[in-house]
Symmetry: C2
Subunit: 408 residues, 2 copies
């Protein structure tokens, strides 16, 4: 079961003016599940994306980058689950483009105004005929209050649909933000993660939107890890239809930081939801590293902790076997780290200092914190002013089960 | 069960002239198990060691380095299991030294002629009184044919004892090499791994022995990983008693490469045995990366594959979900990798080329290789002449079970 995460109520995911969503059961890989999603965007919508840095990036990621660069104005998004269309070479690119052609033709737009996305098994050809056969049904049920269905249509090993909304006043207008995400395994984003779609009806210039997505992704999806595996298909898309009626926001607008921070808040919630729904997760862990010389070394320490199978299995067992955290700090790659001048806290409990166990520490304190489902691991390096926070989950029998069984 | 690994017969571990071994049941952590080992070395034995680069290196590792640097001639080795004496600060150093003092006094040698080692739980004080109380029994049963008992005395989560011997002619003399190792989890050596002890009666100069240990460790223990966690206590010790009667070997001797390669062969066998006995292992995987620009990038790719929980669980399931290997190659950190110009083989089967699945590949071929217990994953980067080989194992339910239960 996910860690303190339930699917949102359909009514809690607010429609965003200018954004309609439709889905189909196209039997891409398995029958009787929503596996094709179409999002239709009003003319004039600004769109920004960030994508995986994996060298084996999926064919649809390559096509997305081409279509965004073509700058014709994005009018539709097409997502399929069941097949990642990654590790598929030239043929994969051709199939991704075929799917864009088909949707463009049905919506009377250009193919370069469509962004395609795929998620699922790598190294298998995309059954593009099935995807295309699903388009009429998806187009038939396009509507503005379909966000929960859309969140469900992009799930793979996810247990619950993930989405959230915000509504607030800006420039005298009511502005709405709604976002959905999917992802549960192969989660260690590098620039972006898995699939995330965030829409707002605020009017935001293209350059401001690009600045916002970079800011937001660095505070959200780039701070999570489930298993340390960076996907071939990671993508986060930000869409702004402009139909709220506010004056267009650019980087110099007073409202820039307001909308940036609201969008970031949504991105953080969606990113954390992915970890709470991490494959086999029973614990949600916040790893905070403070007082480092620079952010890079803080991230090294945080990820060494967040990726250690030994630490993740100890958290699964609620066993305060905390020496494993010291070992991870020690091998994180800070060559001149003075282990005699740092502190380790579990929740509020001081566990280690001066190179060893704190004199005040008794195991019952650690055991009590380990029983919680949300746990803070805090490392104070005492060598500078930088910090960073990473969110991750534990490592359970079910992680092995899910990934040993995934294709069967 | 370990992957094609059984404990050696006691008689197959040959005595090495000048080396005696004795053990005790000292109840360091658990009753009724051998948990203290003493190795006594003849006067004039040359000794070399390599140790973990973990910044939280254990107290005994620090003491070992001091005692080797003191250059008084090492005469004894003392190992305890049940407690790693790591993350224990000044008090840990003091306890490690106390144990050396006690053994030195009983053997009428100096404390700086003793190398101490500990393995077990981190962040707990060493029960040094128990270790010292076990010394008389260990000294009482010191004998040359005690190698199997010694291998058993250093086990923690290991399932089988690990050791091997070689005997051959050198300089007209019969030379013997015997080595033992332990380790099963927290295995991702950096310079050395876990505990390994290799002894020979060949006469080898100190500088030649140091050159040999560096060569051997880079070909053996530095090429294995179980879970990517670099231990606080990794140590490999090479001992040469000189009692075989050969002329002392230095770097310019014609016999230098002979003894170096024999010692390396023993180190490789002991290192691979650790992987075959990896926590929960059901598969032994050789990851070979060829035709890279340099060894470093080959190692990056090999370790990305060898550390991926997604790949390791797929191997556990014997599921040829090989796209996960492409994903790992893609995120390994080679920024200019041309994914359209590399090949992936599973055993002899060409799986992927030209950025996608090979036209000749059918899943039945991959499935057949995946059923084996020893599997070769071969990546050909086609961008240079460097290569590297890493050995690892799969990731099973039992890995989680072992590490969730370890302290209980």
């Amino acid at each position: 079961m996910p860690v303190k995460l339930t699917a949102p109520e359909a009514a809690s995911l607010l429609p965003v003016r200018g954004v309609e969503l439709g889905y189909a059961q196209a039997h891409v890989r398995k029958p009787n599940r929503k596996d094709v999603l179409v999002i239709k965007l009003a003319e004039g919508t600004t769109v920004a994306g960030v994508f995986t840095l994996n060298r084996f990036c999926a064919a649809p990621v390559t096509v997305c980058k081409e279509h965004l660069a073509a700058n014709k104005g994005i009018r539709a998004i097409l997502v399929n689950t069941g097949c990642a269309n990654a590790g598929t070479g030239e043929d994969g690119l051709s199939r991704a483009k075929q799917s864009c052609d088909a949707l463009a033709s049905k919506l009377s737009i250009q193919a370069s105004q469509v962004l395609p996305f795929s998620t699922g098994v790598i190294l298998e050809p995309l059954p593009v005929d099935k995807v295309i056969a699903g388009l009429p049904a998806a187009i038939d049920n396009l509507k503005a209050d379909n966000w929960l269905n859309a969140a469900e249509a992009i799930m793979t090993t996810d247990i619950v649909a993930k989405g959230t909304s915000r509504q607030f006043q800006l420039d005298g207008k009511t502005v709405t933000i709604t976002g959905i995400s999917k992802g549960s395994g192969m989660i260690h984003p590098n620039m972006a993660t898995m699939l995330g779609y965030v829409a707002t009806d605020a009017a935001i210039s293209q350059s401001a939107l690009q600045a916002i997505i970079q800011y937001a992704v660095n505070k959200s999806f780039n701070c999570i890890t489930v298993d340390g595996d960076t996907s071939t298909n990671d993508s986060l898309i930000l869409m702004a239809s402009g139909l709220a009626g506010n004056a267009v926001i650019d980087e110099s607008s007073p409202d820039f930081t307001v909308i940036r921070d609201k969008l970031t808040e949504v991105a953080v919630e969606l990113a954390q939801a992915i970890v709470r729904d991490g494959e086999g997760a029973t614990k949600f862990m916040t790893v905070r590293v403070e007082a480092g010389k620079n952010e890079e070394e803080c991230r090294k320490v945080a990820y060494a902790i967040a990726h250690s199978p030994l630490i993740k299995t100890a958290f699964f067992a609620s066993d305060p076997n905390l020496g494993r955290i010291l070992a991870a700090i020690g091998y994180a790659g800070i060559d001149d780290l003075d282990v005699n001048n740092m502190e380790l806290y579990l929740g509020d409990v001081l566990v280690a200092e001066k190179g060893g166990r704190a004199a005040s520490y008794v195991e019952e304190q650690g055991a009590a914190v380990m029983k919680e489902s949300d746990i803070l691991v805090r490392v104070v390096l005492n060598r500078g002013k930088a910090d960073c926070t990473i969110w991750t989950c534990d490592f359970s029998y079910d992680y092995v089960k899910i990934n040993a069984d995934y294709r069967s």
